[in-house]
Symmetry: C2
Subunit: 201 residues, 2 copies
DNA sequence: TACATAATGACACAGGGTGTCATAAGGTGG
DNA sequence: CCACCTTATGACACCCTGTGTCATTATGTA
């Protein structure tokens, strides 16, 4: 939800209240992308269809990709929170991977509508420009995963590799789930984490 | 080498020969990026400095990022070739990972100048826009790695996760090597592959 | 009612990336 | 040596993304 920084972070009581519903705008964008294609739909098209100005659109979504990736933010955030909280308990052995698995799976729970998410991810899978953005969009999760691993006793360098592999594999898991019709993404995520190992143990 | 498709692929004997040296242009771009910064340097700046037109610049480099990533192509290609050739021999057990390790390391050998590569990678590390592009630039390697794994008997889905993790980890290895001053990237790559495992074995 | 606050959008601008097209430059065949 | 042909080259025009500025408007509060 890209509006978080504007609405929930600063719940002012003064000044003109917002009239634009970011979620509604994102939904419109998603529909237009589905109808006309991603690059065939300009930001101006979306703004017009939403009945707002192009500049206002950019105020809520910092980029075109954000219209898609914004919807994944709750998943990433939920997953990150699990990593943060789990970090406290000292994982002695290789159940470090259990923590990662748990975090990956935790994101699934916060999704209200899996069908919409599947549409979003399919769009991402179809456009290299959007898939590339996973590197940036998942950066916070990478950082939190690294911190978790280091706090669990994994060496700095190995933690970096493990994080990168973790992010890569779980993203691929979401892609594979989205490409099919299975309702539950969890098995995909679990299997993806299965290709990881902690060298020390 | 971005000019491959134009020069080596079609070694014509007729028509006007090319007067632009892509490598020289890329070197100029790299210098300008180092001097003024990546986003502060426009394609027009590079074209002007290289003494060519902006359109001609785009003829040799399909995007600004290609000016940087193009130099990594030999590494990716060499790594991919190893995967292709290794695929024939049937890796019975978990020495499938040996093949991946070998492929990752193979790229190092083809680099003429590690210092230049380090500069390139540092530039990539500093700019999310460039780092993101790893997803696209490494796509061919991903495909070849997947084919290798499948031919080695790894299941389709697991192969996908393993590939994604492999690409992610080795890219991170290059990043970590570039951030430091060690002359040899190999140990980084080996350690990165060390976080992978094949679930079956 | 007046004020403060903040959303809104009109305008302008730089830069990336693409298509078209006329021109230049060099080989090859007569 | 000349005509031709092939290809590189770049000038021009264009669309879109993303950003900054700034006047305007709408709303809640004093």
């Amino acid at each position: 939800m890209p509006s978080d920084a504007l609405t929930t972070a600063v719940p002012r009581s003064t000044g003109r209240p917002a009239t634009i519903d970011p979620d509604a705008v994102a939904a419109i964008a998603l529909r237009l992308f589905a109808e006309r294609g991603y690059e065939q739909t300009s930001m101006e098209d979306i703004a017009r269809e939403a009945g707002i100005g192009r500049k206002s659109l950019y105020r809520y979504f910092s980029s075109k990709a954000e219209l898609i990736w914004g919807g994944m933010e709750p998943v990433i955030e939920a997953s990150g929170r699990v990593l943060d909280s789990t970090g406290a308990r000292d994982a002695s052995d290789s159940d470090v991977l259990d923590g990662l698995r748990e975090a990956a799976v935790a994101g699934v729970a916060v999704l209200p509508d899996l069908a919409v998410t599947r549409g979003r991810l399919r769009l991402i899978a179809e456009h290299a420009e959007l898939a590339s953005r996973s590197y940036e969009s998942l950066a916070p999760q990478r950082d939190r995963a690294r911190a978790y691993l280091v706090s669990a006793g994994v060496g700095e360098d190995v933690a970096g590799y493990l994080c990168a592999a973790f992010i890569g594999a779980t993203f691929e898991a979401w892609m594979q789930w989205a490409a099919g019709t299975d309702p539950d993404p969890v098995p995909y995520l679990v299997e993806a984490v299965g290709v990881l190992r902690v060298p020390g143990s």
